[in-house]
């Protein structure tokens, strides 16, 4: 009920506004000086109309005058954005150009400095390819106590390969670099701190026939021959003309404490 009343009242209010749109004063017949005043053509009316026109013109003029200011601010912003974008493109182009230059320079530096390249290969910093041998070793199948492959076995194998003239060695894809260790931890052999599992594939790059011959003749070869005979570990060597080894992980190439001695570079 109350809501209906309220609605009716609200409607009534709007209706009332519409109904009494003309000021009641116009309907009042006044006594006195203004009793008969129905005059439109008076200075008073003119004054009020002048004030009205002035108000409207003020607002219009002000709005029109303000527009250029906002317009100017906007166009300034737009040109600002455009300028910055241009600057950005320019800088990006410069960065790209400099990057290319750096690439080019480092490439040419590498190209013109074969001894540096050789040093990097020796240190294990570059992937390398060439002829060599692949040695595959795996534990004995007879479940004998000494039939497993230990870290010592692999160390002797790798040292023997170095001794036989290998220039780059990798075990199961882990390149042996200057700081690489081969040791037994957590139940597995790890190289470059990564666990590897049998069969162990050792790739050695060097002249394949002499590499094989010199390995068999040196103590490491004899050690492995005895391991084969006594513990039945599996050992196979295949020469190949095209082998490759990856670079050692960057982590294993990072020097933290050692510095070059000045004058001996």
């Amino acid at each position: 009920m109350a809501e209906q009343d309220a609605a009716a009242q609200a409607e009534g209010l709007l209706e009332q506004i519409a109904d009494t749109a003309l000021d009641d004063d116009y309907y009042v017949v006044r006594a006195g000086d203004y009793a008969q005043s129905r005059e439109f053509n008076t200075p008073l009316t003119a004054l009020v109309l002048a004030v009205f026109a002035l108000l409207v013109m003020m607002a219009a003029v002000q709005t029109r005058n303000d527009r250029p200011a906002t317009e100017r601010a906007r166009s300034t912003l737009i040109s600002d954005v455009a300028a910055r974008k241009e600057l950005q493109t320019e800088r990006e182009a410069t960065a790209e150009r400099l990057r290319e230059e750096v690439d080019e320079l480092s490439a040419s530096a590498n190209r013109f400095d074969p001894s540096y390249q050789n040093l990097r290969i020796e240190a294990g910093d570059l992937a390398a390819e060439g002829p060599g041998i692949t040695v595959v070793v795996s534990p004995s199948l007879q479940r004998n106590v000494d039939g497993g492959i230990t870290d010592d076995d692999l160390q002797i194998l790798v040292n023997g390969l170095w001794y036989a003239g290998a220039e780059a060695v990798a075990i199961n894809g882990e390149r042996i670099g200057s700081l690489t260790g081969i040791h037994f931890a957590n139940g597995a052999i790890n190289v470059n701190f990564r666990d590897i599992a049998p069969p162990y594939t050792v790739v050695a790059i060097g002249q394949s026939d002499t590499l094989m011959q010199r390995f068999e003749d040196n103590p490491a070869g004899r050690y492995w021959a005895s391991r084969q005979k006594d513990a039945a570990v599996q050992f196979g060597v295949t020469p190949s003309s095209d082998l490759d080894v990856p670079a050692a992980p960057k982590k294993r190439m990072t020097i933290r404490h050692a510095k070059a001695i000045k004058g001996e570079e």
Partner: protein, 110 residues
């Protein structure tokens, strides 16, 4: 004739002098104009109905402008400036339309 001259004088003065509204009063100018428009349309209707009275016109004009501006000012002070100006515009708009409709009926009989 005199009122038309007054209107013209107001327009010309506004164009030539380019008076600026003080910054503090600027928010009230639009509402004041709507209120003044209400008074002017009302006066036109009264003129058509042959009950025009210049004194009533002047008083309604000034009071409309002042009250509308004051309401907006009050609303600003109370923090409901936009709501109150909406209300003022709605009421004045209804009145303007009602008066304009009355004028239209009188002129076109429709």
């Amino acid at each position: 004739m005199i009122p038309v001259i007054g209107l013209a004088i107001g327009i010309v003065a506004g164009l030539l002098l380019e008076p600026t509204v003080p910054r503090d009063l600027q928010p009230y100018l639009p509402i004041a104009i709507v209120a003044a428009l209400d008074a002017v349309i009302g006066a036109l209707r009264a003129l058509g109905e042959r009950r025009f009275n210049d004194r009533v016109f002047v008083v309604s004009f000034i009071s409309n402008v002042l009250i509308a501006s004051f309401m907006v000012y009050l609303g600003d002070q109370l923090g409901v400036g936009s709501q109150l100006s909406t209300g003022v515009v709605v009421v004045l708009g209804i009145r303007i339309f009602a008066n304009a409709a009355a004028i239209r009926r009188r002129i076109f009989h429709a």
